[in-house]
Amino acid sequence: MHKRNGTPSVAYDNDLAFLGDAPVLYHCHHFNLFLDQSVDDALGPKVGPALRFAAAREASYQLLASLVRAADAVTPAERVALAEHVFASMGHGRLRIDAPQGVGKAVGEHLHYGQAWFEKYGATVRRRSPADAFAAGFAAAAVDLAYDLPPLSSAATEERCVAMRAPRCEFTIRRGEPEEARPRVDRAAVAATSADGWIPAGLHEDAIASIAATLRAFLAGVESDDSGLIRAFGVYVTMHLAGYYNRITYDTITRVQATAPKMTEVLEMLFRESGHVCVFNTFGGILMSPEWEGAVGTLTGDPAEIVAGGVAIARALGFGRWRIREHVPGERLVIDAPATYESPYYGIRHGEAVRPTCYFLQGAALAIMQLAERVRWSERPALTQAFYNELFRGGLPWRVEQTRCRVRGDDRCAVVVTRS
């Protein structure tokens, strides 16, 4: 069995990544499951998955439309084949779609969400609803495009799911009412909202840029396997759609603000915690990987090394051109960026904000400080859930504040981590 799915070519602007027209980035299943669960916890077991489906269909449609154009895929068969290939090459598993004129089914094997959920929780928790709203939305978008149906009109329901102990995931696909189009958040629109060049270089800039380029060289060589899964640095990751993450985040915030405003703060905390989850698992996994040891060096545990490493990892994964503005070990960390993967979406879709909105950046910066100060890297700790709980759920010694945000009219997004 050898690799067979060339990973689609990714372009970068200001360390934000794009596949076709669509903003993309890399995240692992810990983050993906945590974010989905946060949405479902806030909105409930019907509205949450419905939002996740709609977000997946919309973001996938944008991606696939640009790739169909680029590939000059004309026939339904060509378009479906392209969609199935793209899905696998992004590390989401294998999806076979058979829905002529928008009516039929799809079958998923090794689907990222369902399989990862079952691996992580299956032994101890019985799941009562399907996990693969993303795959459902992707399949619906592929059908819309393949048969020239009205955009965002097909519906897909996951009838069986491996997270619920089924042998494979199965979806029914049917025609539905089209969702109203929203403003596009594509490469050009992101570029228009992401000025750069006038923010001075940060600390350790040369080292960070060099490490980010090295990590990106590894990522460029990564291919999905026969199961449609991607492993990079020993960690299973997905190339995912920023539009998906952002819509489920900000639409959930908007709905909760309208229906249960007192819960907004709790929800924002959860979205910040998604940054902790990502940094602990993915950043930590990369820092401890043999790729890091060979290409960057053996970790010494110097806080400056971890902070610079974390910022380089963020750039490599397509999170934006994060910079270290200040770092006083044990005291203070300031990270800024001309744009995050969150801010352009918010600005385009929601306009100006009263409060800062880069929840992931906030949580990730705090988590980087925690990893830099509280982890004995030279002892090669195991990044277990128990260790995560010890580091992040036992009272954090840091607080984070976002002091600047593009969507408030600032020239950059900036977060400050200080002692709590």
Partner: protein, 135 residues
């Protein structure tokens, strides 16, 4: 010791003394992974064995990932990953994610034995010391 040969197998015989060498490869330990039992670690203390492994892996496996960055990435015909850091001798085995959970350790042990069998190095068969638990 200078070895003049184009064959990685010859090189390895020369540096470790052939198939009957009593040399012991580093023990295999489970590393914490995002999915249980997929990452395994072994450390190669002898630089000559590292060199031999590099050569043999280049012949027997598919090379994946970029070259010249201080780490060598290979893939077996079954899709398992083998990652070698020549500078430190760290070796990581990455078992294919679809391998049944109960099969992962036996597969890792077999891969470890195969790997060091290539260079004629005996394998420490002591039980693996888990480096991290499952999640």
């Amino acid at each position: 010791m200078m070895v003049e040969t184009d064959s990685a197998a010859d090189l390895c015989d020369a540096v470790v003394g052939g198939r009957d060498s009593p040399a012991i490869a580093g023990a295999l330990r489970r590393e914490h992974a995002c999915r249980h039992g997929l990452l395994w670690r072994s450390d190669v203390a002898e630089p000559a064995v590292v060199v031999a492994l590099q050569g043999l892996l280049g012949e027997r496996c598919r090379r994946v990932g970029p070259a010249g960055l201080g780490v060598e990435l290979f893939e077996t015909a079954e899709g398992h990953g083998i990652v070698l850091v020549p500078r430190t001798g760290r070796l990581q085995l990455r078992i294919v994610g679809t391998t049944a959970r109960e099969d992962r350790e036996p597969v890792a042990r077999a891969l470890h034995r195969w790997l060091f069998g290539l260079v004629g190095v005996g394998v420490d068969t002591a039980d693996a010391a888990a480096d991290g638990g499952a999640r």
